[in-house]
Symmetry: D2
Subunit: 344 residues, 4 copies
């Protein structure tokens, strides 16, 4: 049994981690923190956990916390996470950080997009980007995982086979993403209140969403040269899920079936990527760690269109974190992640 702690457990990614870890056969949850709700029983904050846990939320006292677990999941705001992560790393702990703090390799890019400096550059250097489909071997040996952002997960997994195989023009990529509301976190804001979101749909963060440099960093690394992309997030009136529609000009004449072969081969041994003939639907991946991918070729414009679907809280956050933990612990990668979608 591995002992784990969750730092920042009162948000949606924290409670989703709990759902996955309570059901995980090789894990014991030793502590869960929340500044706002310290002292409260977890099931007082989240009544759906009634009878399922006796955990009590506690303040994040990193000195005392560090000896109580082997693996720490950080669900903290960016800026806070870098300090806690660096401290735990220094103290020989394994850390899976769900914030953005260790994702961008270049501290100046981090500072440009997040408007705060990165003060723990040694830790940053040791961080591994936790996308198992691309970096599995590094993850297995890592002590600090930068768990990918939700949008980047769906975008990168969709583009990886095409970019790696030089199928597409690298300067023409459009990434149009649509996310459920839980992606914004658990917030007391009129903008996220039911009546403002229900029956609504809108784009936001057009041209300046912070996941842009993260997507570009990984795509550039795949392509072997710097890439810039058009990335537009939208807010869907659903609880969970991100559907991403990607457009890229084809470099050459290639048939849809040939592209499908490349995609199927790339992901043939992946437990959580499903390359499907039918088009993905958020409803097919909700609550699961799957990334579903379908592709189409528009012959009239010679464009590759890639559609991916994930659950933003699972493959886009907590599920991927557990997948990374499994890899770090040398467990079967799918342990605790085999739950099937509730349909409908």
């Amino acid at each position: 049994m591995c002992s784990v702690a969750i730092c920042g457990g009162s948000g949606y990614t924290g409670v989703e981690l709990l759902r996955l870890l309570i059901g995980h056969p090789h894990v014991e949850i030793k502590a869960i923190t929340s500044e706002k709700s310290a002292g409260k029983r977890l099931d007082a904050l989240f009544p759906h956990l009634n009878g399922l846990t006796d955990l009590v939320l506690e303040p994040l006292d990193k000195e005392r916390l560090k000896d109580r677990a082997d693996i720490f999941f950080l669900c903290l705001p960016h800026g806070t996470s870098q300090e806690v992560g660096a401290y735990l790393l220094e103290n020989g702990k394994k850390v899976i950080d769900l914030s953005a703090d260790f994702r961008l390799k270049d501290p100046s890019t981090y500072e440009e997009w997040y408007k705060i400096p990165h003060r723990f550059r040694d830790a940053l250097k040791r961080a591994v980007y936790g996308l198992p489909e691309l970096y599995r071997n590094e993850i297995k040996k890592a002590s600090l995982i930068a768990n990918p952002g939700c949008y980047p997960t769906g975008a990168i997994l969709g583009l990886y086979p095409a970019l790696k195989n030089k199928l597409i023009k690298e300067d023409s990529i459009v990434i149009d993403s649509k996310s459920g509301v839980s992606g914004a976190g658990r917030k007391a804001e009129v903008n996220y209140s039911f009546c403002e979101i229900n029956e609504s749909f809108k784009a936001y963060g057009v041209t300046n969403h912070r996941h842009t440099p993260e997507i570009e960093q990984v795509l550039s690394s795949i392509a072997g040269r710097p890439l810039k992309v058009n990335f537009t997030p939208h807010l869907l009136p659903v609880d969970r899920g991100i559907l991403t529609t990607i457009y890229a000009g084809l470099q050459k004449d290639i048939k849809e079936e040939a592209v499908y072969s490349i995609y199927r081969e790339t992901y043939s041994s992946e437990p959580f990527v499903r390359v499907t003939e039918g088009l993905p639907d958020l409803k097919y991946v909700k609550g699961t760690n799957f990334c579903d991918i379908a592709i189409r070729i528009n012959k009239r414009t010679n464009t590759l269109i890639i559609v991916t679907a994930i659950d933003n809280l699972v493959k886009g956050a907590s599920g991927q974190a557990v997948q990374n933990m499994n890899l770090m612990l040398d467990l079967d990668e799918a342990t605790g992640l085999r739950g099937i979608t509730q349909f409908p």
Copy 2:
């Protein structure tokens, strides 16, 4: 390992059984039938099952089917189910029938409400009403389970402690239920199309819903005398869940806390009933086999108000069916039913 078959697998209760049984450690699914979709792979009909099963739907040929499994789940329309159930029972199989065909003890009541005769009265006599909280011992020994209706499950569990302990006036009971749309099944009807249901809410089947005699049969049996109730179902614009608000005049002066004690004691060793101080919410039980119950006393009118919440497809159908199977197989009652709500 126990081999099971699902008769009628193309609807929502069938696919929910699949979700629970694929994850069940002591079960192997040997067959799944559908007349309309026979010959199709299950994951062609339900793409969310992609990669999770190789089952192919087949027609219901009961002679050939009977030897392929030990336990049969029937998710068939009423009228069809009685014949299949009786046949399998005669052939020594264990049957869990999710239709209404074996629920009403009196065939004339069945005929009055379902407008067709009951032609298998011997089987009917052997049927046990599959509500474990009331009939656990009978279920363990049964070969034919009449799995309770979704509305009756929430209504009966809410009223059972109060009725059994003679707290309430038996002729004043109002049961006001609100159900998610999956309760209506998987239907190609304009009335259940998204645009007609979304942002809507309505009562239906007022005074004549077929779950009325089922509720009355069990409540009468608890009370020890014939009862009639006012039962009104409503249609909620959500996928899953039934919330039931029950009103009954109190027989005597009693404090809320005393009633809570009775409820807590009644259900103290039940794995799937949670008596909670806070009021239930569909969101807390979605995807689980829980029935959450809270009570309030209106001192000004001397009325007991009971609120219960279940997931109509789990505790209200397929989850309860698996709970019954576990009891019949002498397994831990909660096997395969420990999944936690996805919140949100």
Copy 3:
């Protein structure tokens, strides 16, 4: 042209008043107030009003405001409203108060339920309860209207014909109401955030909702003796609408059609009450000032079941306020209120 002002214009009832008054042929909106958003253009706060109004929100300075309009709509919190209402009344203005401050005739009842004293009892005495179907003549002559609460409107209109005609037992009434989220106002609270409400359903305020004494006051007045009722509100995951299901024991043997005749006759000349054979649906009244009513008799329990549907922001608030204004101005009662539901 009549000049009007809206005090408290940044919430849902305020903006709904605006929708109705901008389209009203005999009204000019002279001022709209908001403490939080004073100085902002209205269309900056509500972008859907872009191009439709040049109004700028201003602080509520009652001395300066009083001379700028003839009729004042108060969409203020209770407690605040009583002072502003009394001041304007004293200064010879007509006031339509959408808060609860002038609804309860007995100040001690007000104090008991709202936990603050009523300091303007002369004004309170002059207030007329603004339910045109019951108090049309008084409204025409009134200077201060206590616009009814949303729940009371649907409950009272449903019970009025039955109570007035002594059809039902007065001590057995159950009022089970289900409201859309806009009824809670425009709030920055996690409890009302999209992810917590979507796919949820729950009861709240069981036995202690503040609309209870308002309902009881009017029903008692109809019945000619003090009545107590069981009233339970629930929160529906829709933007708008209240559906109310009412149960009451019948005093005598009467046929459904006879009750329908009484209901139809009672409301025969009402422009905004539709007595319908089919059961009401929120979707049929959304955006309109209608109250739809259907009745059923449960012969097995000798109970009358009444189902009513209104839009909580229209007939339950701003639409009824405009209807009252029309009466006070001796205009056709339906002026500005003839818009048809958008379906779907």
Copy 4:
């Protein structure tokens, strides 16, 4: 008063036309047809119209119908519409066709995409594409209007100023659209049932949606040379509205504010186009005839991003049809179209 008839009145565009035309001061609705529901009162089919109309649906007998109205709105399936439209045109009637039958100028393109021949080419030649912002003068003189498709309306209005002013590269256009479910019509299909759509999101018709050639025809005409575009529709779990996100490479260095000036100037006298600084939201246009447009420039990729929002049933269908009728009748273009969004 102008007498009008609606052919095909049992779908969502038909009933939306009714909503707008019942409230229109210069129109009398003389007939409404439906093959399936002939003989039924309209309010039996659509209970929200209870008390608002006495119309009875009748079969489409074009010989008898032609003399009963001056203007005919056709809400018929493509293929059927061309014959009825041509017949009425020959008989001197004015026709506004909401189907696709008269939109594509080249009959072979029609045949390629709709898989049926166009048999009324003379009528086709006389048809005017009913997008007032581009073709107002032609519409005023027309007898046969091809009312634009819902997706083309939002796409074309978004691209028109940029294309006309040669701001963008014509071969790089990506049009990513998201539509509410009413766009699919009133259908009894499992795919459009509540439980399959709610909490879902997906792309469909990728590379082959029939609105593609319609978009390309108008954009090509604006650009003065043949254009091909990438157009991907998606299905949103909301009743109404289309949000379209458009990407096009900029031809030259230009500032966002300069592009805004061009957009504002282009649409300065348009009653139904709002160029807004804030990003559009479906909720701001629901129920209205507005098309809201915002633009952003991605300097890092030198791309223009245009976001537009319409209500697919109003500006995308019936509202635009009424706007066209107003133009044909030389009325104020906004007559009957001034209703304000219900918010929320």
